[in-house]
Symmetry: D2
Subunit: 304 residues, 4 copies
């Protein structure tokens, strides 16, 4: 399989179809991004890199960062984690507070905001400087210094973080939050405001295609069973209210962010990241999803 | 009508029936109160005072304080207030956050916690030292220095205020909150932690029986129409999830608090406050409600 | 007090203000009604009748009929009724099924559809021909033959009764429904499709202003305490999602219907019915509510 | 790979661990089933059959039947289907009516009851005798006469079908239901009351492991893309509120029923059915899930 040829084909087909969506505009810093950007990077298990378009340009990874924090926590807390956050898909919006009330403070899964906040809270209990540790961890996974926090995005998100702060206090009311809410929200916002390129995202996700072993860190990041857990969570919960649709159309575990990025893996084959800022109405990158769908079609790959 | 004889009769009948409930125990400071306490004070429109039992002993007024803050805000903001808080009964628990989500950040009424927080937020926008102003206002209504904040109750409530803080941030996320959430919650907790006796409560509520004019303050506190608005809100929303039951059994506008107090008015006749710390399962004082029911029975008064 | 002069004044003021709304159009038979109709009838405790405008013209009473069925059931089942239906205001729409699920099949009150269906179900258990009994009962309350079912309205409502049928089956799933759902819904739709004039509505509601005694039936319809219960339920729950607003603006217990009618009582004084088909956005007659507000203003009456 | 050896190993390990749950008892006919029953049948793509335990004994397939009706409808309505039913996981119970209200009558997916009723409704629109067609279809998939409706189970379910009937009427209220509700519910209950053995279930699911082509029917049942759609739906929604857990522990698309059966496929390898009546608290067969988990462990298979 010539992966370079493959992703170029995919790149060209998407560019020629040119489906359009809408750049996230809930904060001005994201709204300013050029909607025409589009990049693909694929990394195989030996670390060979294949890229097309704007695959080396950093962008705001947003919710993709939740995969890193979940992985860190998993390594630390093992199975105790699942008493604080569930592993089932949510039928409600990613930032719903009503569901949290019905479920007595246990978030449905680690990728809705409430669940991700619980994860970041657990990291805050463990580390003196959690954001430094998260950066270090991502850099280790990527095999190089790659993360940079966009301060403007972070500050702007902080100024719009009331809903996440409410979720934090609500979790605290149910006894499912250990640290100062504002501190945890700040860390959460900081890791969402990190910028990475497609190629670095793909490198860093490589261990999830590789049963938990990272060729960059040269160590087992998580046991094989936990890598499977993360992948199954990405498949069932990784795309907001479009997980079922993505599972069908693409059939790969993946995680999207409102910055327009999607990081995904084909287990035992490769990791891949795609970026294009224009989103569909469910909040997922319209070009990125089309690219991944074309890719699995061309690979004749099917999970199912 | 000999009001003194009347309330003594009521007092004796309640004491002899002696219905028992459960003292609020969500914070230790409230749990410590003597469950046997029971007092009644009635104040007529000329200011004559009638009392029975522990009617001069101060207790934690809790949610009864929401009537004072609503009144203050009403005087300041007039009808603009109703764009920020609705006037309809809520079918959900007083501290529900789910309903607030369904209703896009507009609380159902000023007596559920979310609504009371909006009110306290409005006061915070207006005054440099809102808690001092609230005290001053209550003292004016009562015609003497009567309010004291129980610091232990306040501190303990503050340590358990996550849910109210969550409500505050959630309101802020919907643009219905102007000040720092923690500051407003602190003021809110402070006015709930005020202690007053039955007789002072009854004096302070007198203006609501008197078309808005206070004989103690010697001025119109609110226009007559606003006094009616507050009374109708107390009737339809003043007793958590037991407003309909109270409207039927007692038929007077009133407001209860988890400290076991109930302040109520018979418009154009008198104001009355009853206190007994043991609560029924809906959170209302079991002896206080029985006393008010007996009283309206004996008065052959019926709203309906 | 010259009631005739009073209601003519009210009538003229409303006609000159001429507030406009929207005739109910969920079935064509109601949509066809002339939106300009407007009538007021007041009946005092001696049976003197005062009328203005279209007060003798029959119209579709719709949800006002729920007061009659509740009264009948009350006479039969006494306090056992309250295990099947609650007495508290609902914060949800009148035909919400979600709330019924949260509350495990016990409707919040007898005036939301689920509660009214439980009431009609109880009547169906009691009577072989419930709709004949309901007619007979209303006629007895009115002191003459006055009810007629509009067959076209009934048939049309039946063809749109899926939601009520769903509520019935849902109640049955919770064990709170005894008879065949379709049969009960048919009876329910039939009593809602009755037509009565303002004057006959006012006569029939007279017992609720008179502590339960009907001067037309010449008997106690319900004990005084039950008349109070019905009045308090009308005050807290009688106007869909506008009960708090009506309690404030009018301050009388009353029940509205989507046909544009409102039947109301001033306890110990009179009963009154107003009709005008154009509704506000909450589903209550815009002219009828204005008329009742003007009336209590002019009477200087205030519940509060 | 010696499949016979494999499933015998699995069978023995489960029998020796012997995890216990609770037989479904919402109707007496299901409660009477022997909780000790346990069978496994695996069918490879050539039609070779491997079995252990009670793999030839018929049991009540219940919700597994929803896969057959979805498949039939898919063949008929193609992509028009997805305007009537969504494809996303539900965070609510399988028979929730509240979610249906929030989503305006569009069920979240075809495997919750509301969604399955829409599917059965579509079949009722198409066929004069839908239940005969469903039987015929299953027999064709299985390559032999295998379905029998247990009349006692069906009649008992019919007597307890109020909630499903309510869902049907509720769907009708939203315009998402074409036929008589009672008729559709009867067909729905009938197909749930079918009895099949593990081996016949495994044969009938074979086309889903085979890109839509059935070796028994000797034809393409659905296009390859639709087989993928069904498999992805089973993975994300096939196990009530335990889909995420099953995706992780087993990692195969599958569908469970309250009769204790689970039918599942490993795409391009085999189909498999397991049966044991005792359920865990989420309503899934405790031995069946353990068996499938052991099987994928031993196969070193991992979707992820």
């Amino acid at each position: 399989m010539d992966y370079q040829e493959l992703i170029e084909e995919v790149y060209n087909e998407v560019m020629s179809a040119n489906p359009r969506g809408k750049v996230a505009d809930y904060i001005p810093e994201l709204a300013r991004v050029d909607g025409d950007k589009f990049g693909i990077a694929l990394v195989d298990l030996e670390g060979n890199i294949f890229g097309a378009g704007d695959f080396e340009e950093p962008f705001s990874i947003q919710s993709i960062s939740k995969v890193y924090t979940l992985t860190m926590v998993a390594g630390i807390f093992k199975n105790k984690l699942w008493s604080r956050v569930n592993v089932e898909p949510s039928g409600d919006p990613f930032n719903s507070i009503a569901q949290l009330e019905f479920e007595k403070g246990i978030p449905r899964n680690p990728f809705i905001n409430a669940g991700a906040l619980v994860i970041t809270d657990a990291l805050t209990s463990k580390f003196d400087d959690p954001i430094a540790e998260i950066s270090k961890f991502i850099n280790e996974l990527t095999g190089k210094e790659c993360t940079e926090i966009n301060r403007e995005v972070m500050d702007s998100e902080l100024r719009h973080s009331e809903r996440n702060t409410a979720l934090g206090y609500f979790l605290k009311a149910y006894g499912n939050f250990e640290n100062k809410v504002e501190e945890v929200v700040k860390t959460y916002v900081a890791h969402c405001a990190m910028e990475m390129s497609c190629v670095d995202l793909a490198r860093s996700f490589s261990f999830l295609a590789n049963d938990g072993y990272s060729i960059y860190a040269k160590r087992e990041i998580v046991p094989e069973s936990f890598a499977r857990r993360i992948n199954s969570l990405m498949l069932t919960c990784g795309f907001y209210d479009e997980a079922g649709e993505f599972a069908f159309r693409v059939g790969l575990p993946g995680k999207s962010g409102v910055g327009g990025g999607v990081a995904s893996v084909m287990p035992h084959k490769f990791s891949i990241a795609v970026w294009s800022p224009e989103l569909n109405e469910k909040g997922n990158s319209i070009k990125s999803i089309m690219a991944l769908e074309l890719l699995t079609d061309k690979l004749k790959f099917s999970l199912f």
